[in-house]
């Protein structure tokens, strides 16, 4: 592995899930110092140990990304442990397949919950991290995680699509506002990637056939394939990439 992120101080949210863990590992293996957060302290601790075993410096703290005080505490931990912040990777997100839906069935509380986790948490982390990111600009980066649903919508999961769609406008706004200072902001939109939730669908032939048929490469992606793009965007390799919506979907046509 190359070391394009040597010494870069990174914070990854939603870090213990499939994609978040792959991104955290990739950042660490490219030389980054990585702070991680997610809902379970036990899972966070395990990931921190794993990252340290990769030879990287790592810290972690449990937090509920909907809670501003807890978000602030995570940013404080990361910046005090590393003396600043270069990369904020907003991966925390949720899809509630049994509750999300069209207006006929979607409860207001579910809508609020999905937007709180997928959209408002991004704002909260940016709110508390931006002064640190600006202090290390030029070269610092905010990477948000959208979805193919960000730009294509989703017939089933309306709150999810709305929450991820909001990140297109928000990320572009961050890019415009902070570009002159040298802080970049981009949105990564994965297609179907092998994580616990998607694996359930893939094991079910009726659920997986439409996914595979819609994906030109005829397979779902691996978390490491998202992490590879994340590492590129987090590094100086992508020094002129800002305000971009990048897709990693294996040719998903929607």
């Amino acid at each position: 592995m190359s070391a394009r992120l040597r010494g870069r101080r990174c914070l990854v949210t939603g870090a213990t899930g499939g994609q978040g863990a792959a991104v955290s590992r990739r950042f660490a293996s490219e030389g980054a110092r990585v702070a991680v957060t997610d809902l379970s302290q036990q899972d966070v601790d395990a990931l921190v140990l794993e990252l340290q075993a990769l030879g990287g410096e790592a810290v972690g703290l449990r937090a509920d990304c909907r809670d501003e005080e807890e978000v602030a505490a995570v940013v404080e931990l990361a910046t005090s442990a590393f003396g600043g912040l270069d990369v904020l990777y907003n991966n925390a997100g949720v899809l509630l397949p049994d509750q999300d839906g069209p207006v006929e069935t979607l409860e207001r509380s579910v809508w609020d919950e999905v937007l709180a986790v997928n959209t408002t948490s991004v704002f909260l982390f940016c709110k508390h991290a931006v002064k640190h990111l600006l202090a290390s600009a030029p070269g610092s980066v905010i990477l948000n995680v959208g979805s193919v649903a960000s730009y294509a919508g989703d017939a089933e999961y309306h709150a999810y699509a709305a929450s991820k769609s909001a990140l297109i406008g928000y990320t572009a706004s961050l890019a415009q506002r902070y570009g002159p200072a040298g802080l970049r902001a981009n949105l990564i939109c994965p297609g179907f990637v092998e994580t616990a939730m998607v694996s359930q669908w893939i094991d079910d032939v009726h659920a997986s056939a439409p996914i595979l048929n819609a994906t030109a490469l005829r397979r779902i992606g691996q978390p490491e394939e998202i992490a590879a793009y994340a590492a590129f965007l987090a590094s100086a390799e992508a020094s002129f990439v800002t305000g971009s919506v990048v897709t990693v979907h294996g040719g998903l046509v929607k």
Binding site: S239, G243, S244, H249
Partner: protein, 256 residues
């Protein structure tokens, strides 16, 4: 230690003589690829090959005018003859033309479209069968922010870059099952000889360059090496789940 992401890959870069194409050819060579530098101007093409080989890289030159269908066919055939196969095709060669639709002659239109669209189309046509037989290949097309938005007095160019982006998406869909990925890069303004030439022709060259810089939220035009970095990523196996996609490398220009 620096990892070489394109070791043992055979790559064609068109328009490799200068600007973005030259940066891509040099970057691909740095990443371990054997580069076939295709260029209309022989002197520039040979200069980039010499530069690469002087640094210990592998490269050779094939004189190519991609407006000439036979040249496109010959470029692919010669590459396969020399090196046994083709892994990466980077369709970079392109020309600009600052004219409104009313000002554009049929000859100008044909010149631009034959270069920017038909050249890439023909190179894909001849490259894909071999890639398909081997079940692997990566095609990287240099589109533009003009694939997404219109620019003043830029009618044929905008049309050509829109076409190239859609060709990218179509090819990705068609050849994904064959193991071929096809993606586009959409640069903003980049510091190339062409951009400098354009600015120098304006009544106030410094103001023209300042305006180009100011068009980007990052406050500057891009560097060819920043486009080459994206090309290396898309050409390599690092982007194994990326196809039918474009990466906008524009310092935020399109967000405005």
């Amino acid at each position: 230690m620096r990892v070489k992401r394109l070791s043992r890959k055979i790559a064609i870069v068109t328009g490799a003589g200068r600007g973005i194409g030259r940066a891509i050819a040099e970057r691909f060579a740095d990443e371990g690829a054997t580069v076939v530098a295709a260029n209309r101007n022989e002197q520039e093409g040979n200069a980039v090959v010499t530069h690469i080989t002087d640094r210990g890289g592998e490269a050779s030159f094939v004189r190519t005018d991609i407006r000439v269908p036979k040249d496109c066919e010959r470029l692919i055939a010669e590459t396969v003859e020399r090196y046994g196969c083709l892994d990466i095709l980077c369709n970079n060669a392109g020309v600009g033309l600052l004219r409104t639709v009313v000002e554009t002659s049929l000859e100008d239109y044909a010149y631009l479209m034959d270069t920017n669209v038909r050249g890439a189309f023909l190179l894909c046509k001849h490259a894909i069968p071999g890639m398909s037989d081997r079940g692997a290949g990566s095609i990287v097309n240099l589109a533009s922010v003009a694939s997404y938005v219109g620019f003043e007095r830029d009618a044929a160019y905008c049309a050509s870059k829109g076409a190239l982006l859609m060709l990218t998406r179509q090819l990705a869909l068609e050849y994904a099952p064959a193991g071929i990925r096809v993606n586009a890069i959409c640069p903003g303004f980049v510091d190339t000889p062409e951009l400098r030439h354009y600015c120098e022709q304006q009544t106030d060259p410094e103001a023209a360059m300042a305006a180009c810089n100011a068009a980007h939220p990052m406050g500057r035009v891009g560097r060819p090496e920043e486009i080459a970095a994206a090309a290396a990523f898309l050409a390599s196996d690092e982007s194994s789940f990326v196809t039918g996609a474009s990466i906008v490398v524009d310092g935020g220009l399109l967000t405005r």
